[in-house]
């Protein structure tokens, strides 16, 4: 993390000044120490609007070092507008190497998707979080919801699942499915599909969640138990994909996203595009960025 301090283009390495990086790192360390706990931090301005991944970007820029290989994903895709622009920004302020390969990246910033490829020790996944508190659905007061977390008072959260079962016959929650971390805190895993929650359970990689607008950082350390909430007679289930395969690579073991075709039918494609490419034997070259 000994980033070169030499000025280039009028900003320090990785754009943020050392004071801000230090404040983010302190919050990250505290979040790792208390898995699932939302650590408040000073969320300063970055050159993107709040709500567009400013929390994730602050963590990325605070943790990245000259040797890191980074990857930016937006809803599983490396090539969407948000992913391309964030990658260019991080590349231009650091001069680091960007990759498309999730297994080789040391730092992955993602929105709404955990990479399908198996992660390994030493990797960091930064997820952009819009709403850090799983209790916000029914508790407006921050003071009250903090007390509920402290007292492990999750009756109303369970009630939301119960009402869903009563209304629909099963738990109908897509994104932001509440998960219990190490039997202590309930955490909002951002809008990742239910499919991704088992990928996070006991993963060797470190997961960090940054909510820039709400000024919270929370974490799932490596090898931590992640338990999506569910009932004995209505357990947690991932999305039902029986009979569906990716149109491009034929995969049925990855999360599939629908695309509406001209005929009105749905085609299904891997949400994780680099995973899909790797299965088809395609390979995209790394980008070595020049620091501006």
């Amino acid at each position: 993390m000994n980033a070169p301090m030499a000025q280039s283009g009028g900003h320090p390495y990785a754009y943020l000044d050392e004071f801000m990086k230090a404040s983010v790192r302190v919050a990250v360390l505290k979040a790792i120490c208390i898995p699932g706990y939302q650590v408040p931090y000073v969320s300063e301005e970055v050159p993107i609007a709040r709500g567009y991944g400013s929390g994730g970007l602050q963590i990325t820029l605070s943790l990245i070092g000259p040797d890191d290989i980074f990857k930016i994903i937006d809803e599983g895709d490396d090539e969407t507008v948000n992913a391309v622009n964030l990658r260019r920004m991080v590349g231009e302020v650091t001069g680091n190497t960007a990759t498309y390969d999730a297994t080789r990246a040391t730092l992955i910033q993602s929105r709404h998707k955990v990479p399908e490829a198996p992660l390994s020790e030493g990797q960091i996944v930064v997820l952009q979080s819009a709403f850090p508190d799983a209790l916000r659905f029914f508790e407006r007061s921050e003071a009250v919801s903090r007390r509920m977390h402290a007292e492990k008072d999750y009756g109303k959260l369970w009630l939301r699942l119960y009402e869903s079962v009563i209304d629909h016959g099963e738990i109908m929650i897509g994104g932001r499915y509440p998960v219990m971390v190490e039997d202590r805190y309930v955490l909002d895993p951002t809008h990742v599909p239910r499919w991704d929650l088992p990928l996070m359970d006991n993963s060797p990689a470190l997961f960090l969640f940054g909510a820039g607008r709400e000024k919270r950082i929370y974490a799932v350390p490596p090898y931590t138990k992640i338990e999506p909430l569910g009932f004995e007679d209505h357990p947690f289930r991932v999305e039902n994909q029986t009979g569906k395969t990716c149109r491009l690579c034929g995969s049925g073991e990855s999360y599939l996203a629908p695309i509406l075709t001209a005929s009105g039918a749905y085609d299904w494609f891997c949400s994780d595009t680099s995973f899909c490419r790797a299965r088809r034997g395609e390979h995209l070259e790394d980008t070595q960025w020049q620091r501006q």
């Binding site: 029914f138 007390r147 402290a150 007292e151 492990k152 008072d153 999750y154 009756g155 109303k156 369970w158 009630l159 119960y162 009402e163 079962v165 009563i166 009932f231 004995e232 007679d233 209505h234």
Partner: protein, 275 residues
């Protein structure tokens, strides 16, 4: 008499610094000290409730009845005195020294409250069954089938057959009150606090609710603390009662005695104005 299940010893709640006059020689009427302006919402309230007893608290509006219930329900912290609860560490330490987690456990399993206003207890956007089930979820039950059976049975007991999946804000006031009672009873508490449970209900619903409370009390054998300003309700349900005025107990005794032969001038006034 059996060991009391709940004992209030010299409970006081005051707002203000207090002075020598109001702390030692409270010779004034009302609850505001004329010297220092301290308001005594409750002052030296002492009573005990036996297991399986229905205990009444009577008094006019502003006498401190609901304040007393809020203290027994941990919503308020008393400034003086203590509550001893038989089922918590043998009734020895002050109940209000319990930690937040212990209080939540007590509120889940031991002491339940039914408020005059159902909105204080019920979530209006949630089904009637959900409001009952929430107590069981908080207590750690994770089986929907089992919880629905228990909640449904409790709602049937409250004459709310077929209303389990109805949203609470679609129910009438009397039904909401009964949902509240079902929610209060589902974890089988030892003490039930009823704060004016029938006020604002029409007479036939009132009679049915009272009948229900009596039946539940007989079936479950719990201790009930009943706050009311209605002598008829009191006579129907309670055996013993205290009369509160300006936060102080002016008289205590059996309900019969309070109605037939009131000693304190204030009780006489209350009884005569009711009849």
């Amino acid at each position: 008499m059996a060991t009391p299940v709940i004992r209030a010893a010299a409970l006081s709640l005051r707002h203000g610094p207090g002075c020598r006059r109001c702390e030692t020689q409270p010779d004034f009427d009302g609850n505001t000290c004329p010297d220092c302006g301290t308001v005594w919402s409750l002052r030296d309230v002492t009573f005990d409730v036996a297991p399986g007893e229905i205990f009444g608290i009577v008094g006019e509006s502003g006498a401190g009845k609901s304040t007393l219930i809020d203290i027994l329900d941990f919503a308020l912290e008393p400034t003086g005195g203590a509550i001893h609860y038989d089922h918590w560490q043998g009734g020895v330490p002050r109940l209000h020294s319990a930690t937040a987690q212990e209080r939540r456990r007590l509120r889940n399993f031991e002491i339940s409250v039914v408020h005059q206003n159902p909105r204080r207890n019920l979530m209006m956007g949630v089904s009637a069954g959900g409001n009952v089930v929430e107590r069981m979820l908080a207590a750690g039950d994770r089986n929907i089938g089992r919880m629905r059976d228990a909640a449904g049975g409790m709602l049937d007991h409250m004459e709310l057959q077929g209303r389990i999946d109805m949203r609470t804000d679609k129910l009438s006031a009397g039904m909401r009150q009964r949902v509240q009672i079902a929610r209060a009873l589902v974890n089988r508490p030892k003490v039930l606090l009823l704060d004016e449970p029938t006020t604002g209900l029409d007479l036939s619903v009132q009679a049915r609710t009272l009948d229900l409370i009596r039946r539940v009390h007989r079936d479950l054998g719990l201790a009930v603390i009943l706050v009311t300003h209605d002598w008829g309700v009191l006579r129907l349900l309670a055996r013993r009662a205290i009369v509160l005025k300006s936060g102080r107990i002016v008289e205590c005794g059996t309900v019969e005695q309070l109605i037939e032969d009131p000693q304190a001038a204030y009780t006489q006034l209350l009884v005569s104005s009711a009849l």
